[in-house]
Amino acid sequence: MLQLENVTVRFGGVTAVDNLTLSIGASEVTGLVGPNGAGKTTLFNAISGLVRPGAGRIVFNAVDVLNAPVYRRARLGLGRTFQVPQPLSRLTVRENLLVAQRFGTGSVNASRLDEILDFVGLTEKAGRDASSELALSELKALEVGKALATNPKLLLLDEVLAGLETTGKRRFMQMLKDMHAKFGVGILIIEHDIETISNLCKRVVVLNFGELIADGAPDEVFRDAEVIKSYTGAEHA
């Protein structure tokens, strides 16, 4: 569904994504891990169009989207969340989803909107101001809700579980699993916690200094010496 070929993103002297080639199949749940600064978020930005790669190709469902504007990629079915939640400010929770649905899919479907609100557990907060009246877990749920409202085929989740306490995290993980089943959406999820990744994903890819250093089943990948070194190395740095 998504093919990246030799994608490179540089910021001045920093090569955030380095000649990366990767293919994500339809309705898979894939983990994306790597130490801080490995280029994970930058890769999401390149896929969703917020940064332009200096080189490479990005093909989504047989459409070359490398030069497509951000909004068109969203309409093609690329949804994403932000590592630091970015609610649409000055709008209510429901209006957040409404804008996403109206512009992401081209039309409004109120019952589906309510279904998504319910699914992410925000029905009771629907009338609240999205930028000032939500707790972190609700902001994270709103990130997912907004993205779902665009009716995505592939959802890029950037550390949606980070910062949640244990029960909240467990509930959220169940939600992600259900989402995959219920909405038939493919997921690429950035997450630091190895256990979480092993639980959610059949496949995990590892980035280090912008390079892909491992790709495979979680239990194999997390046994890989290079992967362990990149993690512990980064922690000691």
Partner: protein, 319 residues
């Protein structure tokens, strides 16, 4: 009937019946009203661009001038009927705003400076393109508003009714855009542009549309003004006052509201012409700065929100 409806009906009665009946014979007062409402229309268009498009413009004089020249020239050189030419004047201003699209990439003060410079380009064009615009000598004998079905739109009352109706229609358009899904997306865009784009909003196009709408409205009012005063020269049509007076009026009246800018324009213009001008015949506009500063200190959100607040409080207050 709720208070809102009542006030709308009252305002309509005042504007369409009471004012013409009571003041219609006073040519001086009518001319002040027409001028102030015209400025109010530009102020409304300016506020629309600010509120919905998120852009602060110091260049609305360009749209005003382009609208007035396009309409005047179409009627004079090609014999286009005046009302049709006024609409085309608005279209002309919207087309002129296309040249400004690159400035949308600029943020804050850079955008403001770019649009300021842009307004000057059109003034220079009107001055130098003598064969068409008559150069700095200007255009005179611009056709007045026509007589249709026995009613003379070119009379003082006719002019008044036309500008009131234009501004009301613009207010309705503004209200409809604001209440639409586009309005919701635009509201979200200012603080979270990336977040709106990743859910499928073409933010650049939406902003450009608001620029077109605002330019169109301003151009129509510039065109009206040309046919109202029947005379045009570059320094007048593109005068910086068409940029600054609406800003003062909008902020004074309450730029976050739809009608605040219009009410602000009428108030500010009347005070300026009736009070300040009699004390300081030349340079009286400087007092507008003081007036504005006073209002911002008194009620930062402007006159209209203050009135609404007062009104609500007096209704809710225990007897």
């Amino acid at each position: 009937m709720d208070a809102r409806r009542i006030s709308v009906v009252l305002a309509m009665v005042v504007m369409y019946i009471a004012v013409p009946l009571l003041l219609g014979s006073n040519l001086y007062v009518m001319s002040l009203l027409v001028a102030s409402i015209a400025i109010g229309g530009v102020a409304l268009a300016w506020a629309l661009l600010g509120n919905l498009g998120g852009m602060v413009s110091f260049g609305h004089a360009a749209f005003f001038g382009v609208g007035s020249y396009v309409s005047a020239l179409l009627t004079m050189k090609l014999g286009v009927p005046v009302f049709a030419a006024m609409l085309l004047g608005g279209v002309g201003a919207a087309v002129a705003s296309i040249a400004m699209l690159p400035t949308l990439r600029l943020k804050g003060p850079y955008f403001a400076l770019a649009i300021l410079a842009y307004a000057q380009i059109f003034r220079i064009l009107a001055t130098e393109w003598k064969s068409v615009t008559g150069g700095s000598g200007g255009l005179s004998s611009i056709p007045r508003l026509p007589e249709i079905a026995g009613f003379d739109f070119g009379s003082k009352i006719g002019n008044y009714l036309v500008i009131v109706s234009i501004v009301l229609i613009f207010a309705l358009i503004y209200q409809r855009i604001r209440a639409s899904h586009y309005g919701t997306a635009l509201r979200a865009m200012h603080d979270s542009e990336d977040a709106t784009r990743v859910v499928g909003v073409n933010s650049t196009l939406l902003k450009a549309m608001m620029l077109f709408v605002s330019a169109f409205m301003t151009g129509v009012i510039g065109a009206f003004n040309a046919h109202y005063i029947n005379f045009l020269e570059p320094d007048y049509g593109f005068s910086g006052l068409w940029s600054t007076l609406p800003i003062v009026a909008a902020i004074f009246g309450g730029y976050r509201t739809i009608l605040g800018p219009v009410i602000g324009a009428v108030f500010v213009y009347l005070v300026d012409q009736l009070v300040f001008k009699s004390f300081i015949p030349s340079g009286h506009q400087i007092m507008l700065g003081a007036l504005l500063a006073g209002m911002v200190l008194f009620s930062p959100t402007g006159l209209l929100p203050w009135i609404v607040e007062k009104f609500k409080r007096s209704r809710n207050a225990p007897a």
